[in-house]
């Protein structure tokens, strides 16, 4: 049976890996190429690379780094950040990305999902959603969690999957950086709503949180985290060993 995936996420700005807490207060961690190679060789099942660069100058720098990363790892690579058009899909796929993650770009124009799915296949199109509770409703935020779209998260995710998104990365803004566990309530609702793979993101503080995630929500396919891996608080081989002990199928 298919294994649960553990995915480190690398936010890259100005050619370096950064990690925000509640999407603010960025701190430099390490070289993206070194970190990616380390993860690829130490049990990561996949890597996610987010370009949080603002200027077009630095977008070229990101493209160069992405090519280096893709050429030195032999696990699947998902790339996101600043994907607004098919040309953006093309740009990162040419650098060696396997999947492309859309967020604000798809909120601006949902047809981007459909067009990309038709050209590259559903498996290539990953919907990333930043979600926060507003008055008790799961609400979609755009632009790295800064802008309330007013959209209902479940409705948006269902629409995106119907348009052709082949996987959903669920980022809970409420639990992100808090390190008190994944947002199980939110994830449970999403798993019931769609039948494509669901990746949980935001809130992992330790190994127990991953065990909780997969035991309580067997439909979740993968757990994604950044700082706990980057700062060595959780080593992926240790995490996998403990997941296996808890009866969860891992590679």
């Amino acid at each position: 049976m298919i294994t649960k995936r553990i995915i480190p996420c690398l936010d890259v700005r100005d050619g370096r890996v950064v990690k925000g807490v509640n999407f603010a207060g960025l701190a430099d961690v390490s070289s993206p190429v070194e970190l990616a190679r380390y993860y690829s060789e130490h049990g990561a099942d996949e890597l996610v690379f987010y370009d949080i660069t603002a200027s077009s100058q630095n977008r070229r720098l990101f493209t160069d780094i992405l090519t280096k990363v893709a050429g030195s790892i032999f696990i699947p690579l998902t790339v996101g950040g600043g994907i607004n058009s098919l040309a953006d899909f093309d740009r990162v796929l040419r650098c060696g990305a396997d999947k492309v993650s859309v967020n604000s770009g798809a909120l601006k124009d949902s047809q981007l999902i459909r067009q990309a799915a038709l050209r590259y296949g559903n498996q290539c199109v990953v919907l990333s959603v930043d979600i926060k509770r507003v008055n008790g409703c799961f609400t979609v935020f755009a632009k790295g969690g800064r802008e309330n779209t007013g959209l209902d998260a479940l409705a948006w995710i269902k629409e995106a999957v119907d348009l052709g998104a082949g996987e959903v990365v669920v980022n809970s803004i409420d639990t992100d950086g808090v390190k008190a566990g994944f947002d199980l309530e939110l994830l449970s609702a999403i798993c019931q709503a769609v039948s494509v793979p669901v990746v949980a993101s935001g809130g992992a503080g330790g190994i127990e949180d991953f065990i909780d995630l997969f035991q309580q929500l067997p439909k979740v396919d993968a757990g994604l985290a950044a700082s706990i891996f980057h700062f060595g608080e959780v080593s992926i081989p240790d995490l996998k060993a403990q997941l296996a002990q808890a009866g969860i199928t891992v590679r």
Binding site: T3, R5, G96, D98, G121
Partner: protein, 209 residues
């Protein structure tokens, strides 16, 4: 020299990088002469069967592949490239493949329980049929090693071509072989060290097994 066939289907960058990582000289080409000169051929592919089969035929590369395979040159199809080795596929209509391996490509959904997600995507274990010797493609691979799959269709061989399978609600074909011709449904170039070792084993395979 290994030649990766470039017929306008999918991303060949990772495959090239992984062969370079195991020290194999590699060319990406759509030129019949270059393909004929190489010692080994890899047929990659992602996307839909019908479109890919048409591209192979239009470019005339299907004939080059058939001739080189017939001469005994080691050929490896990967993912859709493996499915193209078969007789036919029922993906969006009935399409004809290369016919190098007997059998048909069918939707996974027709054989797995409805609660399982399609595509079959992620890392899954390889298992080898117990009634035969392990194929040389898996000289460095153990039963239970995980590799990376992304597919909604699977190939059902007629006859003894199956050399590895995965379990996903049903036994799904993971690799097939007939003499010098082999194919894997999973992506060795995305399967970490296990995958690199499968590519290494392919590079060591002799002609006309």
């Amino acid at each position: 020299m290994i030649t990766i066939i470039d017929y306008g289907v999918g991303n060949l960058f990772s495959l090239k990088s992984s062969l370079e990582a195991i020290g194999q000289p590699v060319t990406i080409s759509n030129q019949p002469e270059t393909i004929r000169q190489g010692q080994r051929i890899i047929l990659p592919g992602v996307g839909a069967f019908g479109d890919a089969a048409q591209k192979l035929r239009r470019s005339g590369l299907d004939q080059v592949l058939l001739e080189e395979a017939d001469k005994g040159k080691p050929l490896l199809g990967i993912c859709l490239g493996m499915q193209l080795l078969f007789d036919t596929s029922s993906e969006y209509g009935l399409h004809t493949g290369l016919g190098l391996i007997r059998g048909q490509v069918q939707p996974i959904s027709s054989v797995i329980p409805p609660d399982l997600k399609v595509p079959h995507m992620g890392w899954n274990a390889l298992h080898f049929p117990t009634d035969q010797e392990k194929h040389p493609l898996f000289n460095y691979t153990n039963d239970g090693d995980c590799v990376y799959f992304v597919h909604s269709y699977y190939a059902a061989p007629w006859g003894p071509a199956l050399i590895a399978f995965s379990e996903y609600g049903a036994a799904l074909t993971a690799a097939v072989a007939r003499r010098n011709i082999c194919g894997c449904q999973f992506h060795p170039e995305k399967s970490g060290l296990v995958g690199l070792n499968i590519l290494r084993a392919f590079c060591e395979m002799g002609e006309d097994l």
